[in-house]
Symmetry: C2
Subunit: 102 residues, 2 copies
């Protein structure tokens, strides 16, 4: 690649506030939390929560986009943002909807 | 059970500060965090972190004592306290050492 070629990763500009609001409107159950969007899922028990965590993990690996997850017995909070781009990008909302579809 | 009988669960008094300090001295790598003790483990990648999370989950189910866990790509923070007793008890330190021994 020449000096004018793209950097190793493809830079994506973070979404603006209006775009984030429009994406959130299409992603029910998710809310803004700092730089990220997050959703808390509740399950009958810890085992069921862990099954969900593993499904999310498999999806994250396939997408090469890894949300933070916090497990509190039967609750799992999933938090998504694009660290490399410093904000929310379309792939965060794609991942959020993919998690909802599990 | 008569009115003077024990409640459904066996109540355990939370440890006092001196006892917590003594237990922590025998549990290297763990530190106090609010009501809980916690430790962050780092792994080569997300997959390795998820393997650890699943081992902890299996141990937690066997012990019927479930720590909170937060996964951030290759880092897992484990937080242990005894909700039912409102503080730290000996079983928290037993679980912490069991996790270290995985």
């Amino acid at each position: 690649m020449g000096a004018a070629g793209p950097a190793r990763g493809v830079a994506v500009s973070p979404l603006g506030e209006a775009q984030v609001a429009a994406e959130l409107a299409q992603t029910p159950g998710w809310k803004r939390s700092g730089k990220a969007i997050e959703r808390t899922y509740r399950f009958p028990d810890f085992k069921a929560a862990m099954v969900f965590v593993n499904w999310v993990a498999a999806l994250a690996e396939r997408a090469n986009h890894h949300p933070d997850m916090t497990i509190r017995y039967n609750e799992v909070t999933v938090s998504v943002w694009t660290h490399s781009d410093g904000g929310l990008t379309p792939k965060d909302f794609t991942l959020a909807r993919g998690i909802d579809a599990l």
